[in-house]
């Protein structure tokens, strides 16, 4: 439709364009900013990591028990935090999209809090809750439960910062495709479980994967909140970002950059997966069956 209208209105002339100098100026400035702020630092991380040769690189990664432990710790905390965020995200997005209840607007606003508040503050909140002077601290101590300065606190803190991502991805999709298909499934005799797995999930699949990817990237890179609740015990509570910072403070440049390169590499994999999914899944018979 739009095409027909424009072909009517516009005479057969060159498309109206911005002047060349403006185009080149904008493109050049965008490219140079990306190169300067993103490209060079990323390259530099790898450059510094491999500066003294691959031998030193792998040596500083694999022959350092604390560094190795930080990699495993991050790789074990991130999936757990992502799992919890996904469960919560599905429930919350579903509730907000499908029900009207008192406090819905407040829930929606609170959901964004982790995006707005500094992770350090979040970490402090957990210290206040679970620390010995905190609300639950004495009770936890009397039951021999260790939360602060151990893995549960790391998972909780990571969860706090990753919470909004799945909800934010799912909510618009759930609202866009509406509940008619779900109602149709129920009227055809599907129970809640069948409806979720066979109707809802396939419809939100892409957004969910997207949310998980974002969540995971955030979980692996989290520093502030984890810094506060970890207690910074080497070889025990240091995640990769914390370990990098510690190595850097100890002037172990090769070690810091080697680990940083691993973290960057994981981020690049995440980006790659996201790009692959965008290209390959977007158009698969998802060109909207409804008429809305």
């Amino acid at each position: 439709m739009a095409n027909q209208i424009t072909s009517f209105a516009a005479p057969k002339k060159k498309r109206l364009e911005d002047p060349a100098w403006l185009r080149y100026l904008l493109i050049t400035s965008a490219l140079s900013v990306v190169t300067l702020i993103i490209g060079i630092p990323v390259f530099h991380v790898f450059y510094k990591a491999f500066e003294k040769g691959t031998g030193v690189y792998f040596d500083s990664l694999f022959n350092n028990a604390n560094t190795l432990h930080s990699i495993f710790l991050t790789l074990s905390i991130a999936p757990r935090a992502v799992f919890l965020s996904v469960i919560f995200g599905l429930v919350a997005a579903w509730a907000i999209a499908r029900f009207r209840f008192p406090g819905r607007a407040i829930l929606l606003t609170l959901m964004d809090l982790p995006l707005a508040v500094s992770p350090v503050v979040a970490g402090l909140v957990f210290v206040l809750l679970f620390g010995m002077q905190g609300w639950f601290g004495p009770w936890l101590a009397s039951h021999n439960l260790q939360i602060l300065f151990s893995t549960p606190a790391l998972v909780l803190a990571t969860c706090f910062v990753t919470l909004p991502y799945v909800v934010r991805e799912l909510l618009p999709v759930l609202e866009a495709y509406g509940e008619e298909e779900e109602l149709a499934a129920v009227s055809l005799g599907a129970n809640g479980w069948q409806m979720f797995w066979r109707i809802t999930l396939p419809n939100i699949r892409l957004a969910l994967i997207y949310g998980i990817i974002l969540c995971n990237a955030r979980a692996m890179g989290e520093f502030g909140a984890v810094y506060v609740v970890s207690g910074r015990i080497s070889g025990f509570n240091d995640t990769m970002p914390l370990r990098i910072e510690k190595l850097f403070q100890e002037y172990d440049m090769t070690g810091a950059f080697a680990l940083a390169s691993v973290l960057t590499f994981l981020a690049l994999i995440t980006l790659g997966v996201k790009t692959y999914l965008e290209k390959n899944m977007e158009n698969r018979h998802s060109d909207s069956g409804g008429t809305k």
């Binding site: 008619e180 298909e181 109602l183 149709a184 499934a185 129920v186 009227s187 055809l188 005799g189 599907a190 129970n191 069948q194 066979r198 109707i199 396939p202 419809n203 018979h285 998802s286 060109d287 909207s288 069956g289 409804g290 008429t291 809305k292």
Partner: protein, 351 residues
Amino acid sequence: MTISIKNVSKKFNNFSALDKISFTIPDGELVALLGPSGSGKTTLLRIIAGLENPDEGSVHYSDLEVTTKSAKDRNVGFVFQHYALFRHMTVFDNIGFGLSVRGLPKEKIAQRVGELLHLIRLEGLENRYPSQLSGGQRQRIALARALAAQPKVLLLDEPFGALDAKVRIELREWLRRLHDEIHVTSIFVTHDQEEAFAVADKVVVMRAGKIEQIGSPTDVFENPANAFVMDFLGQVNVFEGMLVNGVPRITGFSDLKGPPQNDFCSKTIYVRPYELDIEVNLTSIEALPAKIMHINPAGPVVRVHLQDLNSIATVFVEINFSKLKELGITTGQKVYIQPKRLRIFTPDYMI
């Protein structure tokens, strides 16, 4: 299966969508819920289906009360206004969904889906996705999907609302034939009186959460219960008039010039366009002088717009084409309108 609705009420916040509705639909009938938007017809349909809970009252399938049963356990076929086909599933999987969630074996499902595709005349499309189908095809798939598990009742929410005029007429005739074939008790919602009349055995006319009249199409059209039904079911001319010795008379009749003598007797009189005749010469005292404003000779029925010379109101008259030829009337001519039938209603209803 007989469906009974008893004293059903439903409120959304402060808006009363349904107000103590009761009626019964006999087994095997095709019934239209007809009313303007906001009359509660869709809400009623969803309550019958179990997609909505009534605040009060009960729903019965035959002798069984199903008010608290969920839609999943009612075994109804529901066709949504916008089809609500599963967009990530093929036509085959869409139609087979109701059977597959019931755990039927694959061969049984394939056999039933084949039967239904034959019934809706869409064989060969089983591997398409909904986005690859036309609106009419999607609607038929939605119907086949609803029928797959052999529901005891078929409910359709504005089934033809999203289709263009030609397909709509084709599909509604097809639905009528289909119903004659399978005889499942069916209820459909519509705001289009022509559609209701063309398809339904029985029409339930609704307004503002209440039932105004229930009856066969001929019945409700010929003998509307009140002014609302009269007005909603077709065009109507409204005249000021009075009762003279129990007989309705229009104020503009030549023997009744001037205002009515007794206000208590003043009545609003309703006349359908086809219940008026046009005469070139005054032959009776029961006639209104009028001027022809416009003649629309499209089709066998000619629609004439006239201006009542007493009240300056516009009057619509429908005469057939041969009558127009016979009268030889033209725009601007002065003629007389002669009513064949006048209706009055108790004045509870305002249009």
